[in-house]
Amino acid sequence: MSTTPDLSVEFAGIPLRNPVLTASGTFGYGVELEPFLDLRRLGGFVAKSLTLEPRHGNPPPRIAETPAGMLNAISLENVGVEAFIEEKLPAVPDGVPVIASVFGTEIELYAEVCKRLTGVPKVAGLEINASCPHVKAGGIEFGQSPDALGRLVRACRQATTLPLVVKLSPNVTSIAEMARVCEGEGASGIAAINTVQALEVDVETRRPMLSNGLGGLSGPAIRPVALRMVWQCAQAVSIPICGVGGISTGEDAVAFLLCGATAIQVGTASYLNPAAAGEVADGIAAYCERHGVASVRELIGALEHS
């Protein structure tokens, strides 16, 4: 009866087998999941945010559970861009587009990392993490001020010829305004959202649950907030959007596509189920078959709303 639906999309100039990417910082460097999931079932993966030098991050505890969500304050621990290129990338199977996530505490450092990653085989695009809510100096300012964000995107845009995705912070009054700034500075796409700044307290010890105090909230709890922000971005700009936040099923992903996302990322769900991203891709296919959708592209922005 029904033929297999076409799941392919093009996001920010990168052709993807299907719309499912993994979210930065929730999929290691791509190989840790191998016992559970063939990476080739996915559209691609976004690696843990890279800084110019290796970074250690915060002391434990770094994670805490919240209702239908979790807090983290890993603080961008990573091996550094060199080690990523030398040690991590070679292990990624061929044919899996890698989007490298870039972070820095100053604009120049972001631009340096972008330069270093340009031309490296397997790296199909860059995602600028302008939105880490718990690094004291850094992300938060770029992600929360239109001016600073504009300068950051401009510098990165000049530093690379690769597709440039900007990942936005949800901790703003108007995410649409931030998306417009990115579009104006030549970004190829938007990823929304990063974690929502939050706090959890252990009433027995009277201390925050995380050593850092504040952390970032992720998981199903934030999905309706992410969905709203993706919809607002889609109304505001014409560059493609990648939806992130609390996605754990094919239906969740379809909701983001309907709201205007061209691709989506699976984050926290992979912790509970290392095969989650693959199951989300299968779930999108099943939805398309059930609803007679020939190409997943028909779903993008197809929300009916008076």
Binding site: G25, T26, F27, G28, E32, L33, P35, F36, K48, H56, G57, P59, P60, P61, R62, I63, A64, E65, T66, P67, A68, G69, M70, N72, I74, E77, G219, P220, A221, S248, T249, T268, S270, Y271, L272, N273, P274, A275
Partner: protein, 280 residues
């Protein structure tokens, strides 16, 4: 004996609850394990997801790490010879309280076995296993493996009182040399489990110490072992989100200020590698 067993590749699998009954010091969760479920090496653990396997619930969100206490089956202790994974746990918070609500017939999603197992003693070394609280569960498979291999070992278990001594009957059934310590003196030595440990440390013969339990206990054991010059392995019990190295949530600091992941580089660490003062 020499090197550690090469651990099996981890799997995600749904296991049926056979029983989940309170006993001395803990609740014993017995899960029916399919033949494909890999045997854990001593010291490995599993992640147990608490939100059922039918309709997904998102609260609680994260799975909980638990030592793979024992795999029965081939030579099973279950009356009907079914292959079963046993987990021994204490109710300390919300997740373990929900686990305690599980009934026979329920299903639980597990990922495992995970983590680096205990290294085996070198020839000529005697193994001294020191367990406290829920850490006792992590040591049983090591004790059984050593006993089966005829390697010399002794086991020291500590708890608040005799009613808190989990897995005591299992260790007794192994027939290995066993000493107890309780805070209230209700069983064995009155006081910390380090008391019965100290005489052995200075006895002169080469030892290899294995410890799992509350942080203060492990720190005390590690310091005594270091002073006496014996190798010492600690199995840590940190909060975890994933259990297989992708969230970086379980990091601990090493002496060289590097960070190690408890789930991937541990849970078993050489005590010398760790910054003991920075353990959570």
């Amino acid at each position: 004996m020499s090197d550690a067993v090469t651990p099996a590749a981890p799997q995600r699998c749904v296991l049926r609850v056979r029983s989940n009954e309170p006993e001395r010091g803990c609740i014993r969760l017995v899960l029916e394990a399919p033949d494909s479920w890999p045997a854990a090496a001593p010291g490995q653990f599993v992640m147990i997801h608490l939100s059922g396997t039918g309709v997904a619930r998102h609260d609680p969100l994260l799975p909980r790490p638990m030592a793979a206490f024992r795999l029965t089956g081939e030579g099973s202790t279950e009356p009907d010879g079914t292959r079963c994974l046993e987990v021994l746990y204490k109710v300390v918070g919300r997740g373990t309280a929900l686990l305690a609500e599980c009934q026979p017939g329920d299903s639980l999603a597990l990922v495992g076995p995970l983590g680096v197992p205990f290294p085996m003693p070198q020839p000529g070394e005697e193994a001294v296993l020191v367990g406290g609280g829920t850490g006792i569960a992590s040591l049983f498979e090591l004790a059984r493996t050593l006993r089966d291999a005829g390697a010399p070992l002794r086991v020291l278990l500590g708890a608040r009182s005799q009613d808190d001594l989990m897995a005591l009957a299992d260790f007794e059934a192994l027939g290995v040399p066993l000493e107890l310590a309780t805070d209230d003196g209700s069983a064995g030595h009155h006081g910390l489990v380090t008391a019965p440990l100290e005489p052995w440390l200075g006895a002169g013969s080469p030892l290899r110490i294995y410890a799992c339990g509350p942080t203060p206990m492990m720190v005390a054991v590690a310091e005594l072992a270091e002073k006496a010059g014996h190798p010492c392995h600690l199995s840590l019990e940190n909060r975890m989100a994933c259990g297989f190295g992708i969230c970086l949530g379980c990091a601990v600091r090493s002496r060289g200020d590097a960070l190690h992941l408890v789930c991937r580089d541990g849970p078993v660490f050489d005590a010398k590698e760790l910054d003991l003062g920075a353990l959570p």
